[in-house]
């Protein structure tokens, strides 16, 4: 019995491939590797979530967004969640632990990163170029769009040509208002690529505009991986074991990964041996496990000879810019997703910052969120004036979020908290993050231009929150990829430089963040890494 095991640790039948995490990337890599006929097992700390459990089934659909379906794991605090010390970050983490991972609660924005996003150093002299490019990933983007069932409209001048799988979501009252305003300014807009099925698609029912996508889609129209990749992967004999929280990756005398130690749902310690280990826990969960896997051979954490595990954490700083109108908007009706503008996406140094951002235009808010945000902003008083002020905002408030590119900075980190632990006693992650000056300038620009758009759309009043504190949806960069082992954690096809049977396929391998939601790129990368594994099986560990 090697050090690290307890005497009563349960042993399991070894597998060929062990995937940790059943979210966006874990599902994609499992599905792709299934055709190798290897024995593949995925361990997921959460459970399956039935569509009948999602909030939009009940009258408390908005309230549960602040309870058991809250985006923040510290607030949600469900049994599957682990705590995160985020006291030293102005942006708070959003995630979900369960089959489907973050895709259960994401809005379903599905933009790809752009060709320029992979060549940031070459084009703009900042950060680093990626070791892969858009052209290399393009076929994987296309496969992923079909697997996830993406609704979009071909012809967006902000992107190289890409096909549409399904028609776009409806414009609605709100989208029509935004479109006219942007046309009056001569600025770009396009219907957003979205993960909502606008037609019945591969067992998913089409979107009926429930308006509460971020609480999980009761209709099953939103492409979360529990209803896209996983059913196909399981039919192809991949095993998915839920309620299993991995403590650490173990290594053998040769310095190769030998498996993992995990706790099952009863808290029993288990050992699972594997020939290949793949991490798919995203930008906080992955460095947490690597750092918790420190040993005498790897004293600074596994795969961390570069010292970069947990460094270069990138969120996307967001600004919320909302307008109040005299006429009704869509409000609580329809998906959060509507149209986007990438007028300010590519670098223009005259703006005073490098890189850029995307505007994501929304449709409005439900009755509870209107009250909460209006009272928090001081626009709805206590007392006699409450009802009149509320009715000025309800169904008349809508706007946009600006999602800004976050450049990598080594001082933005995920480390292990010296005190905080999860329910299994595993050290919890700690986040240290500060906004860069470039990000602040970008946010300021986005608020100013966004206000122009709202005024052009007829807004009588503008309400701004920047940076948006609750917007840590995207967890990137903490185990980045690169050709140089001194400056990266995994190589150009996702294999650890230090441990040759250890792979990472999630958002932690991002070199830069782009100014778009990352799920499409995360999944394309996972499929690309899986293809590389399949093509190199004969000499995978050389």
């Amino acid at each position: 019995m090697r050090a690290g095991f307890r005497q009563n640790t349960q042993m399991n039948t070894p597998v060929d491939v062990l995937i940790i995490g059943a979210g966006a990337s874990g599902a994609a890599v499992a599905w792709s590797l299934a055709d190798t006929r290897m024995r593949i097992l995925c361990l997921e700390q959460g459970d399956w979530v039935s569509s009948s459990e999602f909030p939009s089934n009940g009258r408390d659909w908005e309230a549960r967004q602040f309870g058991d379906f809250h985006m923040n794991p510290n607030r949600r605090a469900n049994p599957a969640d682990y705590p995160i010390n985020e006291d030293d970050s102005p942006i708070k983490v959003a995630n979900f632990n369960g089959v489907g991972g973050g895709t259960i609660l994401y809005a379903g924005h599905f933009p790809r990163m752009h060709p320029s996003d992979f060549r940031v150093r070459t084009l703009d002299g900042v950060a680093d170029d990626w070791p892969v490019d858009y052209a290399t990933l393009e076929p994987y983007f296309a496969v992923n769009d079909r697997m996830m069932g993406i609704s979009s409209l071909a012809g967006d001048p902000a992107y190289p040509p890409k096909p549409a799988v399904m028609p776009p979501l409806p414009l609605g009252k709100s989208g029509t208002r935004w479109a006219r305003a942007l046309n009056s300014l001569g600025w770009h807009w396009w219907p957003s690529d979205s993960a909502m099925a606008t037609q019945d698609y591969e067992g998913r029912a089409k979107c009926v505009n429930l308006g509460h996508c971020i609480g999980g889609c009761a209709q099953g129209a939103k492409a979360s991986t529990d209803i896209t990749y996983w059913p196909q992967a399981i039919r192809a004999r991949v095993e998915l074991r839920t309620g299993c929280r991995v403590r650490e990756i173990t290594t053998n005398e040769q310095g190769m990964a030998s498996g993992v130690i995990y706790y099952d749902r009863d808290g029993v310690e288990q050992f699972q041996a594997a020939e290949v280990v793949i991490l798919a826990c995203n930008g906080i969960g992955t460095p947490r496990i690597l750092l918790n896997s420190a040993s005498s051979r790897f004293p600074n954490g596994l795969a961390n000879s570069s010292g970069l595990v947990g460094r270069n954490l990138m969120f996307h700083p967001y600004a919320s810019i909302q307008g109040v109108f005299d006429e009704p908007v869509d409000g609580y009706r329809g998906p959060h997703i509507c149209i986007w503008s990438q007028q300010f996406y590519e670098t223009d140094r005259a703006r005073g910052f490098v890189r850029g951002y995307t505007y994501q235009f929304g449709r409005g808010r439900g009755p509870v969120l209107t009250a909460m945000s209006g009272m928090a902003a001081g626009r709805i008083p206590w007392g006699e004036g409450h009802h009149a002020a509320y009715r000025k905002l309800f169904n008349r408030t809508a706007g946009m979020l600006a999602i800004c590119e976050d450049l990598p900075e080594a001082h933005n980190t995920v480390t292990l908290d010296p005190v905080l632990k999860d329910s299994n006693g595993i050290p919890a992650p700690k986040i240290d993050y500060t906004l860069s000056e470039n990000s602040r300038l970008m946010l300021t620009h986005a608020v100013a231009r966004g206000t122009e758009i709202l005024r052009a759309a007829g807004a009588q009043d503008v309400i701004v929150e920047s940076p948006l504190a609750a917007a840590g949806w995207h967890l990137l960069g903490t185990a980045r990829m690169g050709a140089d082992p001194r400056r990266s954690v995994v190589n150009e096809w996702g294999r650890s430089h230090d441990v040759k049977n250890l792979f990472i396929v999630d958002g932690s391998i991002f070199v830069t963040s782009g100014g778009v939601n990352p799920t499409a790129t995360i999944q394309a990368l996972a499929l690309y890494v899986a293809d590389n594994i399949k093509q190199r099986l004969a000499n995978l560990f050389d």
């Binding site: 549960r64 058991d68 770009h188």
Partner: protein, 155 residues
């Protein structure tokens, strides 16, 4: 699984805490004949609030202790003018706790049948019926289509 059933802390409030919270709820959102709506201290709504405190039970208790301390006695026993003064002081001095009281109140108030109807909403959950959204006119994209590409080529 409702929010109320998830609470790790005991959601029950003492009788005095309930009286104070109810008085605060009614002060925050009073009934309105003009809009045809009850106040947040309405029996049905207030019961829903108390039953749904969930994760906020502890901060609500802290808020009520704070309010009662400012009152010098039970907040509910103050007269209307005194309640206004204390509530104002409480909100000025304790914005985070005041925000919690507002949140637990509006999360239930704005799902009440009578309130939803007054807003022109059907009192029902979104699923399964969903909502209608206008398809819109994609000809609005014509000026955008007329532009050349705006993404950068890479070497």
């Amino acid at each position: 699984m409702s929010d109320a059933t998830l609470n790790s802390a005991d959601p029950a409030l003492s009788a005095d805490e309930r009286r104070s919270l109810r008085a605060l709820a009614g002060l925050m959102i009073p009934a309105s004949a003009d809009y045809g709506v009850p106040g947040a201290d309405d029996e049905t709504i207030f019961t829903d609030i108390v039953d749904s405190l969930g994760r906020d039970a502890d901060p609500v208790r802290r808020a009520l202790r704070c309010v009662n301390a400012l009152s010098g006695r039970a907040f509910a026993d103050l007269n209307a003018n005194e309640q206004q003064v204390v509530a104002r002081q409480f909100r000025d001095e304790n914005p985070p706790l005041a925000a919690v009281l507002a949140e637990v109140t509006v999360r239930c108030y704005y799902r009440d049948d009578r309130v939803m109807r007054s807003l022109g909403m059907e009192p029902r959950p979104p699923f399964p019926k969903g909502f209608e959204v206008e398809p819109g006119d994609w000809a609005l994209l014509d000026p955008v289509r007329a532009r050349s590409k705006i993404y950068r080529d890479v070497p």
